[in-house]
């Protein structure tokens, strides 16, 4: 017997009928220290770690930064399986690109394999780029996994608020992006619905539809129309609730707390050590 909630979603065309939507890197609620950090701390922290990763020398600086990565990961252990699932395909990509870089970069030849000549310089470059990209993807994934999209938007708004002074509507841009992202699952559902509807009246809409202009129109035009309609409704409903008529305030007061201070201190220590070992040792 099905539970009441699954019965409900089963009956709604939006969700259950067409299968559940993917949860790629989307926010997962939790109570880990990483969740409790202020979004702004995490945002700046991510930027700092990215900069650190770009600056770190191989291998000394990288060891320091990966140690930090490990520490951060351990503070949200329960997310690591989900993280691994999303990183695994990227790992393959990183390795493939690494091989490509090793082969195409000129330098002191390491060996001769058929017509390919992997070089020492290429290998160094590949390892550095690979380690950098993995750390960057890992850190940003942890950010989006532990921070609700709205909090990320608020953090960005705070960090880039100075752009408002030069009359760039950064707040609106961020709201738009944040709303856009929350509507992605709905867009996926809508796409499935249109595909079913067009197939119901005889269209194939399999992979070969990508090459068929008419089939693409059958898919894209209803989708576009539905989304324009939804956008317009949303804009009206936001305006009717006074969006844009003044400064926005936040319902949840965000505070730089003790945990944030601790995180900042740890980050600072690792950054200093990284710079020291990378440039002065």
């Amino acid at each position: 017997m099905r539970s009441a909630s699954s019965q409900r979603s089963f009956n709604r065309i939006g969700a259950g009928v067409l299968g559940s939507s993917p949860r790629f890197l989307s926010y997962q609620a939790g109570e880990s220290p990483l969740h409790r950090l202020d979004a702004r701390t995490k945002l700046i922290g991510t930027v700092v770690i990215v900069a650190d990763a770009l600056a770190a020398a191989v291998p000394r600086g990288m060891i320091v930064m990966y140690a930090l990565g490990l520490l951060v990961g351990l503070s949200a252990v329960h997310l690591l399986p989900a993280l691994w699932r999303t990183l695994r395909p990227l790992l393959v990509l990183v390795v493939l690109f690494g091989i490509l870089i090793t082969v195409i970069t000129p330098g002191k030849p390491l060996a001769h394999v058929w017509i390919l000549v992997p070089s020492r310089d290429g290998l160094d470059l590949a390892i550095r780029l690979g380690l950098q990209s993995l750390l960057i993807i890992y850190t940003t994934s942890l950010l989006t996994l532990t921070t609700p999209p709205l909090a990320v938007a608020h953090g960005l708004e705070w960090a880039l608020g100075f752009l408002e002074k030069v009359h760039f509507p950064i707040r609106d841009v961020i709201s738009m992006v944040a709303i856009g992202l929350t509507f992605v699952p709905l867009l996926i559902e809508e796409t499935r619905k249109v595909i079913l509807a067009q197939r119901a009246r005889g269209a194939d809409l399999g992979m070969n539809a990508l090459l068929d202009e008419n089939a693409m129109a059958a898919l894209l035009i209803p989708l576009l129309l539905a989304n324009l309609r939804r956008g317009e409704e949303l804009a009206e409903s936001m305006e009717s609730r006074l969006y844009g008529s003044g400064e926005r305030t936040s319902m949840r007061e965000r505070r730089f707390g003790r945990l944030d201070a601790l995180a900042a201190a740890i980050l600072l220590c690792f950054t200093v050590i990284n710079l020291l070992v990378s440039f002065f040792l």
Binding site: L196, R201, G206, P222
Partner: protein, 267 residues
Amino acid sequence: MAVLEHTGNRSLYVDTGEVVSVLGAPGSGKTRLALELAFLVRPEEGAVLFRGKNPMTKGKRLQERPREVTLLVQNAEDQLFARTVFDDVAFGPRHLMLDEDEIEQRVNMALETVGLDPAEVHDRSPFALSGGERRRVALAGVLAMEPDVLILDEPTANLDPRTRNEFLSLLAPLRGRSAIVWLTSSAREAALADRIYLLMDGRTREVASGSELLADWHVLADAGIELPAVYELARSLKGLGGALPAESDAERLKSEIIQSYRGRRAR
């Protein structure tokens, strides 16, 4: 032998030339059932048989579904996309690899069946039509496939009362051409069918047809199904403590209500 049949808890069948309605409250799983019957999703229990055979046996792709079964999805007018009404209605037949003459003939027939003048609407943009007309065009698009089985998923949902009645009058010319499965949440609409299934708690049950259907109006009301106003009124009055008999005939129910109202006023 039934043209289309669903086995399992939601068993139902439809014969050639027959109109069968499936009556279910909102959220009872009508849309899912419609998709299953049209071989657009795999049945979550039971199997769907077309002419006694299951065309979607294991390993078959859903793309290979029988084209003889078509579905008019809910709010089908949202799926129109072509530059002209003609192209939109011809969308399905073109996938059947028919020659242009045959396609044109089918499109004209289909447009006439839904009460639109082919010469007038041919070259118009579907987006320039009214909501009711757009839904007619969507129906024409399905009819032009000349299906053996036509499944209609709440074809009158979100239409204004007048357009709804116009749409209901289209049922008559469709009769006899294809077997029709009509999914609806309105008892009044369901009563137009030859046979009626009630869909409730993931099960179907065949119920008496036509005016007899409303004899079960207590059951229907409890199942959350939209009833004609007199029955709704009777139900509300009963809730207020009015001792109304379990009348089913609309006329008698009406006079009962009037009498009891007069009786109260007299007191």
